[in-house]
């Protein structure tokens, strides 16, 4: 449990970089990029890099929240269903009010209220978060069709709405900037604030944290709501990218996000994990996904290769840690 201790007391920058399985991921990422670009030089084209980053942005925004949740020893499987639903809400409200601000806020508020519901069920009713959020996923999958039978079309044609996902600031796509801001904010909170330390403490040992006066339930509730907000934000971006609110979107998104977070070295038992790891893992998974198409390989490999990488990276990390311990 040395990781737990070192995470609670922020270590030096260098230790932070090497203290987890980030090295393994950096190596994997580098090897992947080199191999793919040998097979297909287009991999490094501006267009492809932008395409990869844009896809990473959606996952990273949600994965940042999910990392915090997992560190706090909880999980949220409803993010895929909530992503689609908040996108539908954002588009619908924008249609009705002709205001991207109100639409965006509505989407984010919807995501946050899903997070609040999850958080209340987990902290007040004490339902295990895995099962609670599977149930929420079902409720949302049903609820979205009660809300709308069809995809919600863009009826407002406001330029700003589409720019949220396809616009640029200088050479950088807007969603990448949004994801970067979210990521940095989460990073600062987790690494440099009391709240961040409390999240690690609650995840590592909830009883001990509670005995030392931490209001663990309120903290967890907060993290659920925060993750929900991020899902709402991602839903808004997805609606903008699709130019519709799609009730069928987001299928399997929760597994993508969770796969990235655990590949990034965050422990499912709570108390251990870093956002840098999550960032690298998102990149690794999206580069694989993209690379298989760029290389014109069979797309069925888009399931097999990530599976192998998840197992392989975890194993390499274990080996590395064992040799470190010696």
């Amino acid at each position: 449990m040395t990781e737990t201790a070192s995470s609670v007391a922020p270590p030096s920058r260098l230790r932070a970089l090497t203290g987890n399985n980030e090295i393994v991921l950096i190596v994997i990422l580098a090897v992947l990029c080199v191999l793919i670009s040998i097979g297909a030089p287009q991999f490094y084209s501006v267009e492809n890099v932008v395409a990869i980053l844009r896809q990473c942005a959606l996952v990273l925004i949600v994965a940042s929240g999910m990392t915090m949740l997992l560190i706090a020893a909880e999980v949220d499987l409803s993010v895929g269903a909530s992503l689609a639903f908040s996108g539908v809400v954002a588009m619908d409200v924008t249609n009705k009010t002709n205001s991207v601000l109100l639409g965006g806020l509505a989407g984010i508020a919807f995501g946050a209220s899903v997070g609040l519901f999850n958080g209340l069920v987990v902290t007040r009713l004490r339902v295990n978060s895995l099962i609670a959020t599977i149930a929420t996923m079902m409720i949302l999958q049903g609820g979205i069709y009660l809300y709308t039978r069809e995809a919600v079309q863009n009826r407002h044609s406001i330029r700003l709405f589409t720019d949220l996902s396809t616009g640029y600031v200088g050479p950088v796509p807007v969603p990448v900037i949004i994801a970067a801001l979210v990521f940095i904010a989460c990073y600062v909170v987790l690494r440099h604030t009391m709240v961040g330390r409390y999240i690690y403490a609650v995840g590592a040992n909830e009883k001990a944290a509670r005995l030392s006066g931490l209001r663990s339930e309120r903290l967890k509730l907060g993290v659920f709501v925060f993750t929900g907000m991020l899902v709402g934000l991602a839903g808004l971006l997805l609606a903008s990218l699709m130019n519709t609110g799609q009730p069928t979107a987001g299928r399997g998104f929760e597994l993508q996000v969770i796969a990235a977070v655990i590949l990034g070295g965050t422990s499912l038992m709570g108390g251990r994990g870093t956002l840098i790891g999550t960032l690298l893992a998102v990149l690794v998974l999206k580069v694989i996904d993209n690379g298989i198409i760029i290389l014109r390989w069979n797309q069925d490999l888009q399931m097999i290769v990530p599976g192998l990488v998840i197992i392989g990276a975890t194993w390499l990390d274990l080996v590395r840690r064992k040799s470190d311990a010696r």
Binding site: V121, L125, R126, V127, N128, L130, I131, A132, I134, A135, T136, M137, M138, I139, Q141, G142, G143, I144, Y145, L146, L255, I258, A259, I262, L263, S267, L268, N298, D300, L301, Q302, M303, I304, P306, G307, L308, I310, I311, T314, W315, L318
Partner: protein, 332 residues
Amino acid sequence: MPQSPDLALAPRPAPSILATLARRNEVALLICLLALIIFFSLASSSFLTPRNLTNVLGQASLAMVAGVGVAIVVMSGEIDVSIGSLAGAVGIPLVTIMNMTESLPLGIAGALLLALVVGVVNGYLVAYLGINSLIATLGTMFIIRGGIYLYTGQRSIPDTAYLEEFFQLGNGRFFDFLPYPALISLIILAIFIYVMRMRPFGRQIYAVGGNPEVARLAGFDVRRVKFICLVISALLAGVAGILLSSRLGSAVHVAGLGFEFQVVAAVVLGGVSLAGGVGSLVGVALGVLILSFLSNGLGMLNLATEWQLVVTGGIIIAAVAFDEFKRRNQKQ
């Protein structure tokens, strides 16, 4: 019963059945199940018929068989989410071998062999390499499903041998009454209830899941126990996959998609703690039946899918919350 140190580790040594029953969460689940049955009987005239009730037992059998395996893994402190992909995958050797040899036993042997291999891989990754079981089995889940698609070219493999036994296995009824899958699932359930309650191995599973450190000090081979649990889980997922394949009359490449969610939901609903060491197979069976009756009954009421999803989700939360509430009250 020999007095060994491990007895102290077993959470419930089962002294008087009645006394334990009253304390257990199975009672809450049973009440929940009965309430559902009463409600649906009143709401739909076609619900409370022998044919429908035995139908539901047949429909529940897949989750029942796989649920027993997953429950044992969860009790040992691990999890297995590769069962859905595996249940879909075993149909491939089953149907291919049957088509070639016209022999159901050979097909089943091939299917179980594949399940065994997956179980050994899962068990080795988790118990001996020490990879977190959610990560390992999530990985194998993707690999197996991708493998199915790659191997079949995303086509199903039809049964061209037309063996009567194969059809009867999943679609026939024992004495024209109980569907064979239901019979098979009840036998498997009974065997494992016996193992978990009466055999040392059952106690070892609880001990390993409850506190691996203590279990090791008590002389249990923690790795071996977890390894065997994951192998059992894979084999039972294989059995579920064989029954599924018979009900579908083919090896369907999309079979078993999302099955792991259903099974994990039923297992947790049945009162098995994801932290390990706690739970009973009777509870798991009740959890499976609640979800199956819910699905059947809501269909009978002609409720649209969207409402079915909402109601099922709500009932899962309510049932688990009620169970937790009861548990906390007992502790105080």
